[in-house]
Amino acid sequence: MNLDGLIQKKLALVLGVLAGVVGVNLAVYFLAVSNLDKHTKNTRAKVAQLREQVRDLEKQDKEISGTVSRIRTDRQVVDDLAGKVLTTRAQRLVTVQTELQKLLEGHRLQADSINYFYETFPRQESTWGRRYLKMGMQVPVSGAYQDIKGFIKEAQASPQFFLLEDVNLSSGSQGGTMLRMNLKLSTYFVATDQDLQEQGPRGRA
């Protein structure tokens, strides 16, 4: 059979097969490929949306983690301060008084009388883990300005947690080299049940 014969005889079959292949391809394209393309685009859009959400949440999570971590650190600092530095009045009061006396003498300052006053914090019953007892000390001192400055410097650096709240010059001290000053010092203790009973409900001595 020559080519012409073959073409004539099988033309319909070959064209039919080719048309079938084209048809199948078109069907595959419209039914499968285009759907796959649509799904891929949808998935990509979802991924982009999720990526945005994840980024936002990661940012929020970082901020919250920072806050939680700061709270933990702060709590540790407060616990250490209360447990290792301030402690209770029974544990530290005598040391505080001794240290104050030592500092006054070390700077040649005279303090004839010291008035103490107490206050509890928080004043009312609260949800704090502990309460604090503030012991204020009104210390009238007389001495040279440089000595008073030296005393203040050392009192602030003392491990006995002295706080200087205010400084007042006593009357009648102007004119000479000796000054008379009222120093309002304070320190804090962790309040015990006994302290709270002694201070009463308003926390005043």
Binding site: L11, Y29, V33, R44, R75, V78, L81, I152, V167
Partner: protein, 190 residues
């Protein structure tokens, strides 16, 4: 009636252009479409699988983050944290006072204090914004000394927000009693 076909050529001519063109065209179209479909399947399939995998990863990460955030939020909203907030604020105030360097403050005050000024009282107050407001109470030997002191305070970088609260001449003496409030910024730069 049968159609009469007359061909007078020595070698009968058969026109193959139309069927060959049709076959070639359809064949080429079929080939191109097959290649396009196969390539699309391979490329889109790989892309889809990668997107689906990323989607799944992101969903898992999102769930994890939501859970983590909820847990931390619970910690933050817990009563222990709420109660600690008050205590932390109180301790922070105490530590602010502890950190305040009186000696540095005295040095800064000595720098601006004019000769005829006698300080009688110094009281710092610590604001929530970290600002230290200081109340200065004193006497000036003649008003000119007070004015000089004011000028020095206003021109010094460690003192801001100067405010003269009152001044009053003492009976029978050249002294002027005054009250000043000023914000103290340790190591303030101009």
């Amino acid at each position: 009636m049968k159609r009469l076909s007359v061909n007078a050529a020595g070698t009968p001519f058969v026109n193959r252009v139309v069927p060959v063109t049709a076959m070639a065209g359809l064949g080429a179209l079929a080939l191109v479409l097959t290649i396009v479909n196969l390539t699309s399947f391979i490329v889109l399939g790989a892309d889809f699988r990668s997107q689906r995998s990323e989607l799944s990863d992101k969903e898992k990460r999102l769930q994890l983050l939501k859970k983590d955030k909820e847990e931390k939020q619970k910690v933050l909203e817990s009563s222990s944290v709420a109660s600690f907030a008050g205590e932390a604020q109180f301790v922070s105030g105490v530590l602010d006072l502890k950190r305040f360097s009186w000696t540095r403050f005295f040095e800064d005050l000595e720098r601006v204090k004019s000769f005829g000024i006698l300080m009688e009282g110094v009281t710092p107050t610590f604001g929530k914004d970290g600002l230290v407001a200081v109340t200065l109470r004193g006497k000036a030997n003649q008003r000119g000394e007070l004015l000089k002191f004011e000028q020095n305070l206003m021109g010094d970088a460690s003192f801001r927000g100067f405010k003269l609260e009152n001044e009053q001449k003492e009976q029978g003496s050249p002294f002027i009693v005054f009250n000043i409030t000023v914000n103290y910024i340790p190591g303030g730069k101009p």
